[in-house]
């Protein structure tokens, strides 16, 4: 049968089992939208801004592990995708972006709405294609999906000129869609690839010899869906485990062996542990500067095992003693064949002691704080929810206080740190997970960057709860100005903002405002009852709050700043007799250690 390029494109997406396209129409994609008009089995989601479409595809991908798809017209449509593509690229997220292009005959002639989007996105895509003939379209799309999801995942862009999507050629998806993609020059290590035994044995030996080991787990373990393997390694060896911002959920953060996030705003105990460790086992993590600070002063006493699927990550920042190139899940399975059980050690007790000395803590003085709000959400929505965030202080509080239980539950822009990501990513996640509640922790600054996507949520009846942590300020920037620029607060004041409650109502959603913990509890209860519309909770907190602990950029743990009122806060909690979160954790931990020591658990025979 003769099909147009546009119809072929949809056939290809079908072959890739695509369920959703997040997109926005325009001249250069008219044939594609004409084909979409008749398409019943793939849902097209009409966004309000193409950047929103890219973040939705990204949120879709991060909350499922599948490839997200977005679509935009040529020129401004395509350039509006750029921030979203770069966001996905920095965090290795599988995504296919499809853009319309001007007719092949006028490419390069400054035609109406022409932008060289393959040129523009060269440095922010894993690969991209400009398809010049309808005959080449299916192959390009097959390669795009293959590249996006294999090896180190990433966004791939396919640019389709108008005539290429309009021309008709003979095409039969069953027969003509390349089922197997072969790109001779592309040979990623994948699941199931052989791992050199020598390296595994060396790693196992280092683990057996180490006195003070720490597991440092990153986004690669999430991308590899390797929670089971990470947990098995941790349990068998009783090695305490810290995750990066993107590794959250690679181990259940309520697991007794989890010590939270490390790095600039990581827990003091995770950072102390890494700093004093004699063996750091990096699993799908890339020694980002927000983790290492000054790399010359990072984990200087430690030998390093580095497991990563991308050979270029090995030795990029830190030279490992044992490099292992491969997929986390596969490598850990193989490694587990050589790793001997280890007992609970005095070193573990030392880390627990640090945890007791430097707990994550905030005032219980009747005021509403972001930490409280996030703790409540973690409590109320628990394992079943998905949390997305924007970028700023609220993101860091969410990272510290939200306990991620599994991969794909935590969705945040780490590498690019894109304000405006949270809401559209939440909408994308909501489409992918209709059975789950999606909560976006946003800031009053970030929220105003992509507010229009509330409309998308309303139109499609998606319940996304956005908690706007409202400090009337670009808080994260303000914090740096306070600390490092002598409190010269330059252009960070957001006193002038819309009324967020009225704003969401104007978009057809529901709004609540909370200024005290009690009001917040009520808002959450009310929000939980809404299931078919977006909800915004304006969560008003003091402007002066700062994120602690903090290791200033490019520095080391010696420069770590902790809350000055830490001792006071700990004393207050004890005096109150109130339940302080660590006491719960401590109980769980104690039971776990007893179990381990009695030989009942942690060490599969």
């Amino acid at each position: 049968m003769k099909l147009s390029g546009a119809e072929i494109m949809l056939e290809c997406l079908r072959q890739e089992q695509v369920s959703h396209i997040f997109g926005y129409p325009g001249g250069a994609v008219l044939p594609i939208y004409d084909a979409i008009f008749d398409c019943k089995d793939i849902q097209h989601v009409l966004v309000r801004h193409e950047q929103g479409a890219a973040h939705m595809a990204d949120g879709f991908a991060r909350s499922t592990g599948k490839v997200g798809v977005c679509l935009a017209t040529s020129g401004p449509g395509a350039t509006n995708l750029v921030t979203g593509i770069a966001t996905a690229y920095m965090d290795s997220i599988p995504m296919v972006a499809i853009t319309g292009q001007v007719r092949t005959a006028v490419i390069g002639k400054d035609a109406f709405q022409e932008a060289d989007i393959t040129g523009i996105t060269m440095p922010i895509t894993k690969h991209n294609f400009l398809v010049k003939r309808t005959e080449d379209l299916a192959e390009a799309i097959a390669q795009a999906f293959f590249l996006a999801r294999t090896g180190r995942p990433g966004p791939v862009l396919v640019d389709i000129p108008l005539d290429v999507s309009r021309n008709k050629i003979e095409f039969n998806a069953e027969k003509d869609y390349p089922r197997q993609v072969f790109i001779p020059s592309y040979k990623p290590a994948g699941p199931g690839a052989r791992v050199p035994e020598l390296q595994l044995k060396k790693a196992a030996q280092l683990i057996a010899e180490a006195k003070r080991p720490v597991l440092y787990v990153g986004g690669g373990a999430v991308l590899s869906d390797a929670q089971q393997e990470v947990t098995e390694l941790a349990e068998r060896t009783n090695i305490l485990t810290t995750t990066t911002l993107l590794g959250k959920g690679a181990i259940d953060e309520t697991h007794p062996l989890s010590i939270g996030m490390l790095g600039m705003h990581g827990t003091a105990y995770a950072n102390h542990a890494v700093n004093e460790s004699d063996l750091l086992i990096a699993v799908g993590a890339r020694f980002d500067d927000r983790v290492t600070g000054n790399p010359d002063k990072f984990a200087t006493k430690a030998k390093i095992i580095h497991i990563d699927i991308d050979p270029a990550e090995i030795g990029k920042v830190i030279q490992p003693d044992v490099p292992i190139v491969g997929d986390v899940k596969t490598v850990l399975r193989e490694l587990l064949k050589f790793v001997e059980p280890r007992d609970w050690t005095p070193w573990n007790d030392q880390i627990v002691e640090w945890k007791r000395t430097f707990p994550l803590i905030y005032p219980r003085d009747g005021k509403l704080y972001a930490e409280y709000a996030i703790e409540q959400i973690s409590e109320v929505f628990g394992e079943e929810c998905i949390m997305t965030t924007d970028v700023g202080q609220h993101q860091m509080w969410a990272a510290q206080y939200f306990k991620s239980r599994r991969p794909y539950q935590w969705v945040t822009s780490g590498g690019l740190g894109t304000m405006g990501f949270g809401l559209p990513a939440a909408v994308g996640a909501a489409f992918a997970n209709p059975d789950k509640r999606v909560i976006c922790i946003s800031g009053d600054g970030s929220f105003q960057m992509m507010t229009q996507e509330l409309m998308t949520a309303t139109v499609y009846g998606r319940n996304v709860i956005t908690v706007v942590v409202n400090n009337h300020s670009l808080g994260m920037v303000r914090q740096w100005q306070e600390m490092f620029y002598s409190e010269r607060y330059s252009q960070v004041d957001l006193q002038a903002s819309p009324n967020f409650v009225q704003l969401v109502e104007a978009y057809g959603g529901v709004g609540f405002r909370a200024t005290t913990p009690a009001e917040f509890d009520e808002a959450i209860r009310n929000a939980k009852a809404v299931t078919d519309r977006p909800v915004v909770i304006d969560c008003v907190i003091p402007t002066s709050e700062k994120v602690y602990p903090m290791i200033p950029s490019g520095q080391s743990i010696a420069e770590m700043m902790i809350r000055q009122d830490l001792e006071q806060l700990k004393a207050d909690v004890h005096a109150d007799g109130a339940e302080w979160s660590f006491s719960k954790e401590e109980e769980v931990l104690k039971q776990y250690v007893e179990l381990v020591q009695s030989g009942k658990s942690g060490t599969p025979q």
Partner: protein, 174 residues
Amino acid sequence: MAQLQQQHTITVLVENHPGVLARTAGLFARRGFNIESLSVSVTDKPEISRMTIVVGGDHRVLEQITKQLNKLVEVIKVVDYTETAAVEREMALIKVNAEANVRTEIMQIVDIFRGRIIDMSDKTFIIEVTGSTDKLDKITDLLAAYGIRELVRTGVIAMARGAKTANRAGRDVD
């Protein structure tokens, strides 16, 4: 970090696709690697192009360059000639002032360097000379005394000595 800045000659085999040069050269700019010279040409196989790139940096920089190049989907193979016996050649065209009174002197220099005079006017010569980068630097220095009007160099191309090849299926040199 006062690390020794070394020069490395690498050969990159790439799929002969439009945009592949931009992709490869762009990588160097983006990641802050220095290109000293770059030459691109066809190979015996029309679907493959060969780039020879001279880069500066210590061995860790070179390792990153090689790994990052290998990540480009269209890069088939990267060969580093630093530690290998390889032939490296470059060609220069030099337009030099050559009034009658200095012509013999210049011709002697050209002779010593096994160059050729390929164009002559009443005031100038164009000299063609092929050799290592060093050799071209030397003759350029010598000719500078007469006044160089224009200079162009091809950039280095390289090939391993002996039977080894950098072909897709060939055995790696490194």
